[in-house]
Amino acid sequence: MATASGLSGKAAIVGIGEFGYYRGTDQSILQMVLKASMDAIRDAGLKPSDIDGIIPPPGFVAWDEIGAHLGIPDIRYTACPQMGGASPVAGLINATMAISAGLATAVLVPIGWNGFSALRPRPDARPNKRRFSAAFFETVKNYYGPYGLRSAPWWYSLYLQRYVKYYGVPPEAAGAIAVACRKHAQLNDKALMRGRPLTMDEYLATPFITEPLRKGDCCVETDCAAAIVVTSAERAKDLRHKPVTFLGGAEGHPNRPDELINRPDMLKLGLDYAAPRAFAMAGVKPQDMDFLQIYDCFTYVALLELEALGYAERGGAADFVKDGNIELGGKYPLNTHGGLMSQGHCWGMNHIVEAVRQLRHDAGQAQVADCEIGLVTGYGDLGDGTIAILGRGA
């Protein structure tokens, strides 16, 4: 086995919190984020005054109001990775770096939004003023929006259709992601799609939104929040739970990050750059993973991520995801909580929370027996990628 390096082993996740998952809530984004944050702090056995770093989400709520509402008296460190759904894992990496450098001792990384209610406000709801911004909005407004390409499914379809047509990726490969997520959601009290199982035939019968994306390829709009608390590996040993140690991580971005179609290789994601760096830092191989929590905003994006991670050649993920290989009981259980597809869309922070539950051996019916190591990916905006490899114990 190769040697671990860099930030490997420098910090651990010691607290998790979740608020959700709902389609419709009377809670504001700030309230949801604060509840998840306080739960994460308490789960760690800490008090707000023990927290000295905050890495806020890339929008909606800011570090100063979070700190003030929670009553954190001495904020020593803040930073805000702005890469959409790749941000939570980037926040974890950033927290590990800050702790390793001695800039902070315990860092809160929260996120949350009203992904359902913002689009369908209740009749009596006050106007939602909370927004987030991203640089790529300029590209979208100037070059995609005018062409009937309104939001993420339409933008991503521009590269996903080439993936499908050029490499002959069958819809059943994407369906295997949807079916696995839905199957795992049946075991999770907190999953939006619990009680609504999905077969491959039902998936294939869902209508196209914009090709190659069917309705069954899209994740669920959700109101929710989630948070983690990160501290040094040393201090983690004395806290309430079995520590979940950061073994390796990296971010990566497409060339070019602010637009989709003029990249030399339109299908090369940020994760293609990040994954080898993370495995090198952890000193492990993709084949060592006991589970995979893969950012699944859309099934086909998850397939490309599996290829970027090295589980298949470009266009070859169909073989990897078939025959239950990515379901509980298979070799690489994927999104054991249901993922964005079937638990809810919490920007992938729910994937980190689930990885922690698994490695604490506290994942209930979805527990991957005796798991020791697993990975979490993030995907955001126009293809930003992040990955963290996590291990059980200090």
Binding site: Y144, G145, Y147, G148, L149, T210, N262
Partner: protein, 134 residues
């Protein structure tokens, strides 16, 4: 005639649209030092870091690099047009642009030769249209 979408480009995106409307042809950024074509336009040439560029008319020849067929829209301008095809066109000069088309879902395939023209909506916005190459 298409209606004007809500678009207010600025910086080099505005320069791109202005040049295209004036020439009534798709104009792309062209590096005066190394000859590299770039889209969207950048203040530094991605090939040689030069700041010397013009927006030059392209010859209109392109091929389909990717596309989508949209079967659903909530937008007034588009919902009556479903299923509509949107093309990622790779110009002969190199850069790729998004284009509208009257080609049907049955008619489009990756690698197909197409011809690009522009529909000038106003001095600051034009649509790129793709049609089958003659």
């Amino acid at each position: 005639m298409s209606t004007k979408p809500k678009v207010q480009p600025d910086d080099l995106d505005l320069a791109f649209y202005q040049a295209t409307a004036e020439a009534r042809r798709l104009c792309l950024q062209h590096c005066e030092d190394c000859g590299q074509w770039t889209h969207p336009a950048r203040y530094y040439c991605p090939a040689c870091s030069s700041e010397n560029f013009t927006f030059k008319p392209t010859n209109g020849e392109a091929e389909i690099h990717s596309f989508t067929v949209s079967h659903f829209s909530v937008e007034t301008a588009w919902k009556d047009l479903v299923p509509y095809v949107v093309i990622v066109a790779e110009t002969q000069e190199g850069p790729r642009v998004v284009a509208r088309t009257d080609l049907t879902p049955e008619e489009v395939e990756i690698g197909q030769k197409i011809r690009l023209r522009v529909e000038v909506i106003d001095p600051e916005f034009s649509y790129v249209w793709a049609e089958a190459a003659a």
